[in-house]
Symmetry: C2
Subunit: 240 residues, 2 copies
């Protein structure tokens, strides 16, 4: 009952959100959540080391020190501290790093938390285009759910680019579809409410977390669409 | 030059088309092609045995003898005969059966042919939902292309139900997207023209046949969407 009541209060209200991942996706989600009035902390292994970096990533993402200076509402703290006080944790790591980051965040800090997993288990080790580290009979989201059975994992957003994730209305007036899945209905409702705050109007619930196989296995198609269209600014509308 | 000229004449004209597969998908494609004026032959291992069946399939597909009586423009012949004279061959088998059927059709009969592969490599042997027989670093369409290097394999249509495949305009006025890929540009154009005859207006070329990985790996997502929506009558629109 307490949990349900708390979630009811959370809906439409301000939440504490810990975002794991300092890349393009983590930053886009963090700034959007802060803009919507939530208290956002980005988690990183070693804040001092992260802040000391001055080079851009190979993908052209600039130093986070500059980004934090431009987005003062977002805090930067160690993984565990970012997760500890959070109502919702967002896994915005590269899929390959997810389990290590969650270990560093601490299993105890994740108990009972809503974990929104937006990552993709992409394997770049064999060249481009990447294949998946896990597929077909399992998924990264299921692996995370198994590793943290008391955490309430919800998969969403991994099927679009960071800008489309967080500002869907800027693409075709928002006339496209987001998909969610997870084993915990109340956790899915928390995520659906956040997605609605982002601007998603058409959200389809695919059921339990095993549906993450389908959402993660969509990535190879997304990558080919990106190549064919010459843009990352696209999405799918489920027409029915 | 001869091939290119022939294909130019074929565009918009009548073609001989061999459809491999007597199931729901093969029948839907055959009747639609016949309706559009093409000469269509469905291939089967043993026409007499196929015609002798009186029971419906577990999926509720009735005996083909009745179906052929209702669709007299479509012929039924052995695999090899259906393929031999064809301009275009459609692989509408269950994915698991595809290689065996193509072997029976005869490699020599497939040389130079456009092979439209609409099948999905679904593995029902481990229960429901099915997983894929091949995924991630390979695909059924690539396996077929490797087995028949002189055949011009084009993947398309496998991402929607048989009715949506062949009558896209009946869903949301046709405002959704079909994807194609293949190594042979002229073969892709032949398929695109057929798709346009079916009613597809938005067709995206994903490039070479390796993109079939993405199109086949979309199936687990399609299956979950079917479960969530309670219908097979849906499609995706690539919004950009």
């Amino acid at each position: 009952m307490m949990r349900a009541e708390r979630e009811h209060q959370q809906r439409g209200g301000t939440m504490q959100i810990g975002v794991l991942g300092t890349g393009m996706v983590g930053r886009a989600i963090a700034v959007r959540l802060a803009e919507l009035g939530h208290q956002v902390t980005i988690g990183t292994r070693d804040p001092q080391a992260t802040l000391a970096r001055t080079e851009s990533s190979p993908q052209g993402v600039g130093p986070i020190s500059e980004w934090l200076a431009a987005n003062p509402a977002v805090a930067l703290r160690p993984f565990a501290a970012a997760v500890e006080a959070a109502d919702v944790v967002v896994n915005a790591t590269s899929g390959a790093a997810a389990q290590g980051v969650l270990t560093a965040a601490g299993a105890g800090n994740l108990v009972g938390k809503v974990l929104l997993d937006v990552s993709n288990p992409l394997d770049f080790s064999k060249g481009l285009p990447p294949s998946l580290l896990v597929a077909n009979t399992d998924s990264l989201a299921e692996q995370i759910q198994r590793a943290y059975p008391e955490t309430r994992v919800v998969k969403a957003l991994n099927i679009v680019n960071a800008n489309v994730m967080t500002r869907p209305a800027e693409l075709a007036g928002g006339d496209h579809t987001m998909l969610v899945e997870g084993n915990d209905e109340a956790a899915k409702q928390v995520v659906r409410d956040l997605l609605a705050e982002f601007g998603w109007r058409d959200i389809i619930d695919l059921g339990d977390i095993t549906a993450a196989r389908g959402m993660e296995m969509y990535l190879p198609l997304w990558l080919r669409l990106m190549g064919a269209l010459g843009t990352v600014s696209f999405s799918i509308k489920v027409v029915r």
